[in-house]
């Protein structure tokens, strides 16, 4: 198409340059162009948070961001949080505390939680519940998600203390 433009993104540390229509939604860029299928599409209206990624240091719902708005941005998706040999504490914690069932919300949930714990490394249960309210889960009832995040926070804080 004639209205395609060149865009640059840094996704999970890798620079990407590609031609796309400016109206392309970031979630489609990530999933279909760049093969990052961890973030999912649940509503396309910013309500469910399954598409949550970190964009320039902030949690963002990538289903309502045009790729043109994201040009030049640094993005982290679930694929960039850990790898099979070195999982993120939250990935371990969600497994340990049964913080997921169908798994569809999980990438967005963990990506958001990782940002929440950066913003507030020692949250109360109420702060976790409030800070995660932009991410919907239909399976777990949240109880074990909250438990997973609180346990991860405790573990990360203990590791930090041990390192100091």
């Amino acid at each position: 198409m004639s209205n395609k433009k060149v865009f640059k993104l840094t996704v999970n540390g890798e620079e990407q340059e590609f031609l796309a229509e400016p109206r392309e939604l970031l979630i489609h860029t990530l999933r279909e162009r760049l093969g990052k299928t961890g973030p999912h599409i649940g509503c396309e209206t910013s309500h469910c948070g399954a598409c949550t990624v970190t964009l320039n240091g902030k949690s963002v719902k990538s289903c309502t961001v045009f790729v043109a708005q994201a040009d030049g941005a640094e993005i982290t998706t679930i694929e960039g949080l850990g790898n099979p040999d070195n999982l993120h504490v939250l990935q371990e914690s969600f497994k340990e505390h049964h913080g997921l069932q169908c798994g569809f919300c999980t990438p967005g949930m963990i990506t958001r939680a990782s940002k929440l714990l950066e913003e507030n490394p020692n949250p109360t249960e109420q702060e976790v519940r409030f800070g995660m309210a932009g991410n919907i889960c239909r399976c777990t009832g949240y109880q074990n998600i909250v438990k997973s995040i609180l346990a991860a926070a405790a573990e990360m804080n203990a590791a930090k203390e041990a390192a100091e």
Partner: protein, 804 residues
């Protein structure tokens, strides 16, 4: 040599039944490596998108696709006229009706599929949808089922009004069926002669399962080999294969249906939708793969609503509170087509479980199905067929009866429970309850929450409210539910003529690991984890050495899929039975290796031992190798088994739930202070997963009871078509739940398990609703309809004069 492990250590090493095994699914899901339908990308794949009707009832005068076809990248625009020569413009429904795939002359609900655009990418497809010009002529809209039964407006002009429907005679052109169970005259006589009769209309509003992943598929017709592969969000992949074969004429062996990872189902993904048919046709026409994934608005507006039952009830009792009879007439709003997902012989599902946990000697139920200008569906949203409706009905009727009798509702339940010694219990509406111990569960629950203390606190709160010291009321919601799950016996349960058995096939590998394939499909329930636990206990190999695979019809044995909490009761039983066949052969191999008679060895955790000489044994690992290594006289090589399990009866899980809620009379806001849930699902396979299922089911119950609905205006416009309007609770609105259990095994299930996934939803909805109603009981409220959102609660308070 290693130190010999104790029996207990050997049992623990298996990770079998009863342990809190961590889920094997989670590694891929936590790393974003799940494989859902929309993740599937095939070479040359096209995208489909629907033109949908803005009207709820209209004639389609013309469809002009010229402008859409002229758009660069558009490959095809299908209409009913294109599908008609193939006979695919209509499709059969699961309920014996038929449904338009694409509008054939008229539309019957807002959002109905009118044309299917196929384009090179999803953006071009969406652009082209806007360019299809459809001329409509509006027709009168019927959204109220009672008005529809009186109206001259004919919704289904394709049906002969004088001919019988799939379930017998029709009384009116908008009437679908009448279903009657029980004794009408005897029940009416009991009601006439009763000391006390309580009467109420209980409406269970229309809602939607709304899994986080919407429905979709990728159809791929390989014209060279004549094979169709259909990936999709299917809760019943084998049934979909049979349906696709029947309606397309492609032989079943040339169709491979694959359900990959599924992002929640809750009933939404049981049915067959026009998107599947159109994708298949488009792939056959174009010869390349076609993907169709609905967006959230399409999901809420068109695929599979739930409930919409108007349940008129009468319940009678003696002065002392002993229930003598129950009468129910239900008007069931099925929308434009009858696409309910129920076993064939049960047009209102298992609504006849509506006598609940109570010993009610005489009962009568009648259900009338009605066409309206709403979306078709009627799926079981996190419940066995219409069991949520039945449980909600009886648990509201009990509360209304308690008011009529001026009795405590906990005590009223207590004196009417089916007693432990009455099981197996024949209900007045035709079921045989397998097992239960309701009194024990109830007493445990009441004690856990200090029920008497709560009632005293509530009485004080009422005094304080009347004295102007508080504006908050306190509600105590009680529920004792009995579910009916595990459909079901082939003698009375089928879908489209397919008996509702299920299956498991096991292959033991030479080195002592295994793969088991089942006819079910997990949508988050953790089958790969729990079915391996069942097998570990049955065949004595570690759960970690057993792969569970589901969802590929080319490899899995035929089964009817996962819904209605049937996986554990039916496929779980098949798994245990197939495991026992493995064990029977292993016993013969062990006896040969140990040079004793078959009867002289016995199974012991992970091995066969010589009776009376436990130091002489062969482990299952050794036996597995021998099966592939030894030439044993009279025994075929290999170690495999398959079981098709036809359950002798349903299973009847039950539970006792108590909710304590504060309600702000001035804002209508609710605050759930406490929720106690005792579940009895028989033998417990994995307590961690059971608890997770209970948390999730209760949260979906909270949603339905406190705000979630598919609402229509008088023009048939859907008012709740996005997640802005359709209530899905967040972490902020949801409480922590207290879970508890008793264990009453099913006597007819091989491992005594009953199923649990749906219990918390079935029991949760009446419990939340009863709490809201109970808060206003002291001020004269008998019953108020769900969903209890803030506005409706405020209005209830206002109508009772509580705003001064």
């Amino acid at each position: 040599m290693n130190k010999e492990l104790s029996r207990e250590e050997r049992t623990d090493a298996l990770g079998g039944m009863g342990c809190k095994r961590k889920r094997v699914e989670d590694a891929r899901f936590t790393q974003g490596k799940g494989n859902y339908v929309d993740d599937i990308k095939l070479p040359g794949m096209l995208h489909g998108d629907f033109v949908r009707s803005p009207y709820a009832h209209a004639r389609v005068v013309s469809i002009n696709t010229d402008a859409a076809m002229a758009l660069d990248g558009v490959i095809a625009v299908l209409t009913a006229a294109d599908l008609a020569p193939l006979g695919l413009h209509w499709m059969p429904t699961l309920a014996g009706d038929k449904q338009m795939v694409l509008a054939d002359g008229k539309v019957l609900f807002q959002g109905q599929e009118v044309a299917f655009v196929v384009a090179k990418d999803r953006y071009i497809a969406a652009d082209a949808v806007e360019l299809v010009e459809v001329e409509y002529e509006e027709l009168p809209v019927l959204t109220d089922p009672f008005a529809a039964l009186e109206s001259d407006v004919v919704l289904r002009e394709d049906l002969d009004p004088t001919a019988d429907g799939a379930h017998g005679p029709r009384k009116h052109h908008n009437h679908i069926f009448t279903w009657e169970v029980g004794e009408k005259d005897a029940t009416e006589q009991v009601l006439d002669e009763a000391d006390v009769v309580a009467e109420e209309m209980v409406y269970y509003h229309r809602t939607h399962p709304c899994p986080l992943e919407t429905c979709g598929c990728v159809a791929s017709m390989d014209k060279v080999n004549g094979k169709l592969t259909l990936h999709g969000t299917f809760q019943a992949p084998h049934a979909i294969r049979t349906v696709v074969s029947l309606i397309s004429g492609i032989e079943e062996h040339n169709i491979r249906v694959i359900s990959p990872d599924i992002g929640g189902g809750f009933g939404n993904k049981v049915g067959a939708y026009p998107g599947y048919v159109c994708s298949v046709v488009a792939s056959i026409v174009t010869g390349v793969p076609v993907k169709w994934v609905e967006d959230r608005m399409e999901n809420l507006m068109t695929t599979a609503f739930a409930r919409d039952y108007w349940m008129k009830g009468k319940i009678s009792a003696t002065k002392e509170g002993k229930i003598t009879g129950l009468w129910c007439h239900t008007t069931a709003d099925h929308g434009g087509f009858d696409a309910c997902a129920d076993p064939t012989k049960f047009p209102a599902g298992f609504m006849n479980i509506c006598t609940g946990s109570y010993d009610i000697p005489t009962a009568y139920l009648a259900v009338d199905g009605v066409y309206t200008n709403k979306a078709p569906g009627g799926v079981s949203y996190r419940c066995s067929f219409r069991v949520t409706e039945a449980a909600y009905f009886i648990e509201r009727m009990i509360e209304v009866l308690a008011i009529e009798l001026n009795m405590d509702a906990a005590e009223l339940r207590r004196i009417n429970f089916i007693r432990k010694d009455q099981f197996p219990y024949q209900s007045a509406l035709g079921w045989e309850y397998d097992s239960g111990d309701y009194h024990t569960a109830w007493d445990k629950a009441l004690k856990a929450v200090d029920y008497d203390g709560l009632r005293a606190e509530q009485a004080q709160r009422v005094e304080d409210f009347k004295a102007g010291k508080t504006r908050k009321l306190m509600g105590i919601g009680l529920t004792h539910f009995t579910e009916i799950v595990g459909a079901g016996p082939v003698k009375n349960c089928d879908i489209l003529g397919l008996g509702m058995f299920d299956s498991c096939e096991i292959r033991i590998h030479p080195t002592g690991s295994a793969i088991a394939r089942l006819g079910t499909i997990s949508q988050g329930q953790g089958h790969a984890t729990t079915f391996a636990q069942i097998l570990a206990t049955e065949i004595g190999l570690p759960a970690d050495s057993i792969t569970i695979e589901e969802g590929d019809t080319d490899t899995a044995p035929y089964g009817l899929g996962t819904y209605g909490s049937r996986s554990t009761p039916v496929a779980g039983a098949a798994t245990a039975m197939a495991g026992r066949k493995i064990r029977a052969k292993a016993q013969m191999i062990a006896a040969y290796l140990l040079e004793v008679h078959d009867d002289d060895v016995e199974f012991d955790v992970d091995r066969f031992v010589v009776k009376g000489a436990p130091e002489k044994f062969k482990t299952m690992k050794e036996i597995a190798f021998a099966a592939y290594n030894q030439a044993i006289p009279g025994i075929e090589p290999g170690l495999e088994a398959v079981s098709y399990y036809d359950p002798p009866n349903m299973t009847y899980p039950f539970g006792a739930y108590i909710c304590v809620m504060d309600i702000d009379v001035d804002t209508g806001e609710t605050d759930i202070r406490r929720f106690y849930a005792l579940d009895d699902c028989g033998t417990r396979i994995n307590p961690m997963i059971i608890e997770g299922q209970v948390h999730g089911g209760l949260t979906e119950a909270l949603a339905v009871a406190l705000g979630q609905e598919i609402a229509y205006d008088d023009m048939g416009n859907v008012k709740t078509g996005t997640l802005m309007d359709f209530f899905l609770p967040t972490a902020w609105e949801v409480p922590n739940y207290e879970t508890d259990h008793t264990v009453t095994p099913s006597p007819h299930h091989p491992i005594g398990a009953k199923g649990v996934g749906e219990s918390p939803h079935v029991g949760g909805v009446p419990c939340f609703s009863n709490a809201v109603n109970d808060a206003f009981r002291a001020f004269g409220l008998r019953h108020t309809h769900m969903p209890h959102d803030h506005w409706r609660i405020w209005k209830t308070a206002n109508d009772l004069g509580l705003h001064g």
